[in-house]
């Protein structure tokens, strides 16, 4: 705790957990009703474990950004309470927020300043850092997001992808315990998207908790350990990625020449929704292990060419939870 010289790249090994609970973010009945009467966030109970890469999913307009703005103290909740890094918010904002790197609703910088000058200003505003290491930390942050070459360019001249990178750099100006990244890959090309994924994994392996909002399921599926899904201001699901996947049931598909007999066996096992096609039979697997299906088919003498368990991908889960794909919610 009494490190002699704060360094821009303190190793994560010595991290001391000062919190009284093991959640990075915990909300209780968090609600935001805007003056117009619209309830943007409706009594959500979010629980983000420390060290998780937490995907915060939802269609546009489902309340993700409003939630993030509340978590960072930008807007006040109309009901409910929340804690970040184990400290009650917004009362502890001054102590908590320096440990939180944030990118809220896209990058926002002074258009007439260079990328480096923009980071210098944000760093100057941070009372928790050592001014003497500013140059090194800013260089390191620019390097980490691949902006070193464009650092002296005015922000106005940046492409959307470069702007997004500068936003990420501002979240990395000092070591953080929690990163709150709102749609971090917005506007990035596939290469940039991959770099962000790598960055998120690096941050997580250094011990930081990453709270990642996105409407891009593929992104979340590839990097996240936990997921929460928002729909119309409500939290409709949260848990580990695997738990979420299991929300919808897997189906078993048996490719065989003997479809009639196979269908009979499957029905006799008590599987529902049996569908018979020209060359295959499929049914909802439910709780049954697929080995039992194989065993029963073989015992009945059905010639099985192929037996596949089809698990729904996250996108299917997402659609089944939010009910309406990617339409804007009102």
């Amino acid at each position: 705790m009494s490190g002699p010289e704060p360094s821009p790249d303190v190793a994560g090994a010595g991290a001391v957990a000062v919190a009284d609970d093991d959640t990075a973010i915990r909300t209780t009945g968090l609600t935001k009703r805007f003056p117009g009467g619209q309830v943007a966030v409706n009594a959500i109970d979010l629980s983000v474990p420390r060290g998780a890469v937490f995907g915060f999913l939802g269609p546009n307009g489902s309340g993700k950004t409003t939630t993030i703005r509340m978590l960072l103290g930008l807007i006040g909740p109309t009901a409910g309470s929340f804690a970040v890094l184990g400290r009650p918010m917004p009362d502890s904002a001054g102590a908590v927020l320096p440990r939180v790197g944030a990118l809220v609703e896209g990058p926002a910088f002074y258009p007439y300043l260079s990328g480096r000058a923009n980071l210098t200003r944000l760093d100057a505003a941070d009372r928790s850092v050592d001014a003497r290491t500013a140059r090194a930390r800013i260089d390191a942050a620019l390097e980490r997001v691949g902006l070193s070459a464009a650092a002296e360019k005015r922000y106005r001249a940046y492409s959307l992808g470069m702007r997004q990178r500068l936003g990420l750099a501002s979240a990395l100006l000092r070591p953080r315990d929690l990163l709150v990244l709102d749609e971090p890959t917005n506007g990035l090309d596939p290469q940039g998207t991959r770099e962000v994924r790598t960055l998120v994994r690096e941050l997580a392996s250094d011990g930081a908790t990453v709270f990642l909002s996105s409407h891009l399921l593929s992104e979340v599926e590839q990097v996240c350990t936990h997921v929460a899904v928002m729909s119309r201001g409500r939290l409709v699901s949260q848990g580990t990625l695997d738990a979420l996947r299991s929300v919808t049931t897997a189906r078993v598909r048996v490719v065989t020449a003997d479809t009639a007999q196979a269908a009979g066996v499957v029905r006799s096992l008590g599987l529902a929704d049996v569908a018979v096609a020209v060359d295959h039979v499929s049914a909802t697997l439910g709780e049954l292990a697929s080995e039992r299906v194989t065993e029963a088919l073989v015992r009945a003498g059905v010639g099985v060419r192929e037996l596949v368990v089809e698990r729904p991908d996250l996108e299917d889960v997402f659609v089944s939870l939010t009910g309406e794909g990617f339409d804007v919610e009102q």
Partner: protein, 285 residues
């Protein structure tokens, strides 16, 4: 990635954020251009007076008390220039810089970036106000210094005969110019406070700038209506030109003190309104 060590790091008490704010205000091209325009005002004024007094038989004529003195001593161009720029030009540039203060940050979205750093909202207001005051003082000083340079180039110099009749050495007179500049900058603090408050109400900087300028003009108009003279002592503009008292011997401090008190009240009232607004506002930009 542990940050606990950095949190405990020695706090730097160098006012880095204030320095950053001053750099932002004083490197902004628009703000520099306004200073250049302000520096040009004494030049125009000096040339006009110089050319008009060359005509034989020109009797000096009316105008502010200072103008007649300029041909006698170039230093009076400084006071005259401040008299000329104080009703409109100076409040206008302060309206621009103060209207920009919070609304400008909101319109670029940098307000949210600063708040999550975190910059406390009270701290943000204090630093913003300090930046505006610094600019107001720089603007006043620009007019004064430019006027002294132009005045010395176009008119005679030497010991200065004050409005009250006595004469003081040039060095003492230069000190008076600095005092006047300080007083004028202090008077502009009321505009700065109004601008800062208006700036917390909107995300459109231009609207904040225009509203502030209009409010100042409305106050000046009220100050010019004799039928409501009973409210005049409470209007900030009533005391702006009192800086003439600093160019008398002995210096009359009555109006000066009154002006400073009225300005302080404006700063407290509008500063509190700005604080009440910003600290309770949802930042959705």
């Amino acid at each position: 990635m542990s940050s606990s060590e950095v949190v405990i790091a020695r706090r730097s008490w160098r006012p880095r954020f204030l320095a950053s704010e001053l750099r932002l205000v004083f490197t902004r091209r628009r703000n520099l251009a306004m200073l250049v325009v302000l520096a040009g005002a004494p030049l125009l004024l000096g040339l006009a007076i110089r050319l008009s007094t060359r005509r034989p038989g020109g009797g000096g004529g009316g105008g502010p008390a200072f103008i007649g003195q300029i041909t006698g001593n170039g230093l009076f161009l400084a006071f005259t220039s401040l008299v000329v720029t104080l009703p409109l030009f100076l409040p206008l540039v302060v309206s621009v810089v103060s209207g920009e203060a919070v609304a400008g940050e909101a319109s670029t979205g940098t307000l949210r970036s600063l708040l999550v750093v975190p910059v406390g909202r009270t701290r943000l207001l204090v630093v913003k106000f300090a930046g505006i005051i610094a600019y107001a003082f720089a603007a006043t000083l620009t007019v004064g210094v430019s006027a002294i340079v132009v005045g010395f180039a176009l008119f005679p110099t030497g010991p200065v005969t004050l409005l009250s009749g006595g004469t003081i050495p040039l060095s003492a007179a230069l000190l008076r110019v600095l005092l006047v500049a300080l007083y004028v900058a202090a008077m502009l603090a009321s505009v700065a406070a109004i601008g800062l408050f208006v700036s917390t109400l909107t995300e459109v900087p231009l609207a904040a700038m225009a509203t502030t300028a209009i409010l100042v003009i409305v106050i000046e108009i009220l100050n010019a209506i004799p039928q409501i003279s009973q409210i005049h002592p409470y209007l900030m503009t009533q005391w702006w030109l009192s800086f003439g008292d600093l160019v008398r011997d002995p210096v009359g401090y009555g109006n000066i003190a009154h002006g400073l008190v009225v300005t302080a009240v404006y700063v407290v009232v509008f500063g509190s309104l700005a604080w009440a607004r910003l600290t309770t506002r949802d930042v959705t930009s």
